[in-house]
Subunit: 424 residues, 2 copies
Amino acid sequence: MNVAILGVGTVGEQVAKILIQNQKLISARAGKDIKPVIGVVRNLDKKRDVNLPLTNDINSVINRDDIDIYIELMGGVDEPYRVVSEILHRKKAVVTANKALLAYHRFKLQNLTGDTPFGFEASVAGGIPIIKALREGLSANQILSINGIMNGTSNYILTSMMNSGVKFEDALKKAQELGYAEADPTFDIGGFDTAHKLLILASIAYGVHGDPEDILIEGIEGITKDDIFFAQDFEYVIKLLAIAKKVGDKVELRVHPALVAKDKMIAKVDGVMNAVSVAGDAVGETMFYGPGAGGSATASAVISDLIDIARGTNFPMMGYKSPLEIKSLELLAQDEIRTKYYFRLKVDDKVGVLARITNLMSENNLSIDSFLQKPHIKNEENDKKATLFFTTHTSREADVKRVIRILEEQEFIREKPFMIRIEQ
Amino acid sequence: MNVAILGVGTVGEQVAKILIQNQKLISARAGKDIKPVIGVVRNLDKKRDVNLPLTNDINSVINRDDIDIYIELMGGVDEPYRVVSEILHRKKAVVTANKALLAYHRFKLQNLTGDTPFGFEASVAGGIPIIKALREGLSANQILSINGIMNGTSNYILTSMMNSGVKFEDALKKAQELGYAEADPTFDIGGFDTAHKLLILASIAYGVHGDPEDILIEGIEGITKDDIFFAQDFEYVIKLLAIAKKVGDKVELRVHPALVAKDKMIAKVDGVMNAVSVAGDAVGETMFYGPGAGGSATASAVISDLIDIARGTNFPMMGYKSPLEIKSLELLAQDEIRTKYYFRLKVDDKVGVLARITNLMSENNLSIDSFLQKPHIKNEENDKKATLFFTTHTSREADVKRVIRILEEQEFIREKPFMIRIEQ
């Protein structure tokens, strides 16, 4: 089988390299030879560590008849969509690691595929075969929930904050120095990267439609040492979670930092590693752990798709032939989300404030589960502020949002109220 | 597709139940209906919670032409082998959860299968789709090592000993009360169950032949509170590990309790849960976690095989068509195993003993990495014994075995020397 690699960067180089390095093993498993024959790049002058003919003429490659599988590693959304659509029209197999492409176009692509194989294992959680697990390994199950740590940058930062007591800004800087975070880290720490991956997994589990703009996405930028202090005191860790949960006949999808009880398996995932916990009605709780990024780990997933395609053992994209075969579940409105909440409030340290806050909460259906006032640390600050921490029993998102709006208007509030959801 | 269930116990009942309960979802994923049509049982009088015609005449079922897939859940080795062979001769697909059958007959069965589908996902680690992960998800990789916690009974006992400070005997008794351990627990706590599963995984990763009798198997019966004391002091946990490791062109296979650094991901797997950590040359470190036993979790794996077979997406048993396609690796001789070791020695508390032990170790190529003498606890025992703990740098198994034999003969040794291997 001849393979074209569209986009020869870190991942593309590794795909070519591993196909050569593990050639015997891969052809034994695939039942035939898989050979990278051409790479497409934008800049032919750039030095690359790859033993592969290169061109910058993508159309000539798309139109070649001798190519069986195209690996799309171009990045972006519109141009890859155009290219991949054209390849699918020519009934040639596609493998992609492009999560943004799938976050926006997965159902259109599924309709285009027909019987043409389309692999995207590498688009979620790098080297972890989570798409295969969800679509095939757990195929007997109604998926009850998915909880994922799917952004290594954010998990590295949060782990540093929890374990080494560094501030968010310093942890981010260290991550940038180590190459774990981009110069502009917004896509990672803002939760957008995680949201793309969540939409892909949720489509397989629930056939749920929707673009990233339709779901709740919050990043980790607002987390301070105070939140870490609370988490440690109450035996939580803070993780950037992707959550998909079946609620009646709707699906809740959200990405946000969460307090997770520290004895939960997903709470134990540290550093740049990724993990996806999947609960199924038959299997119970499972978790899939591994490197979520990196050229070689991502190439491992790309090549597993090539092998499946070579064997003819690849599943249809979403695990069933047509979107009509199972009833797609609709997104739950964000206001209807129900979970437990944590609040950090910086207030004037004076008589009556606590009573006003607790009244305000109970008037808005929030029932307090625990309360902590941070012990005053000597020399910390000299003015009369107090930091208060509350957690609630299970509450409605709409009520929580309303309380935050009301709190913001109170004269005793000294800093924008901060909230983290609590998950278990 | 019509399915016959041979052996309708805990797992068989759940298979029938889930096939009915998740019927719509399963047929959407399988592309056709999967229907259990007959169950074979030994005792027709026994009450069963299953909506399925039953018979005790297995031969009549094997000879039925309307059955497409047979699920073997009979237990045992010889009788299932006879039955499964007959079914394969009739070119009918087989799905089994029987680890013992595969531990002894997997290569003979592979030769019998030809193009007939044979699924055994449920034979290792219950609901965790580890066979699919190893054979398909990580198919691009040379597998460097596999480290598994694959016996829930043993992991429950060890977790209780570590976290609650109970003795082995008491932890075992509790496990029996909770239904986690059998009345005769030898198969679980002796490491034999784990060894069966290890052989199956190692065959997929390395094409390695061999029966359980050929590999190193040690159980957890000898572990005492002293070992837990040492582990806690040196930041280890004790786990019953299944280890497969490529060493040159041979494979090391062993099952034994191991000291594992407590920050390793596999060290964090507690209670009855299972996990398999797989390191691949492309992907790096991955781990697959979930329930390793139980009717419903095991049924989840059985049904995923049914769906793969219905779709025609099942792989050949070992992941490649014929054993000749990849070079099978040979087992490393047990004496050639190299790892780090921990010793617990109970000795006469008198001058010169420590020097004699350390001399004896160095004369036999064991280099000491750490040493601890247990602080004497008041009223513990009144005679003059001391408990000594040593760990070594990487050493050869043959040297370690020799040292233990020599130590046993020394007059100052008050109890059989105890050794645990250290893994990372």
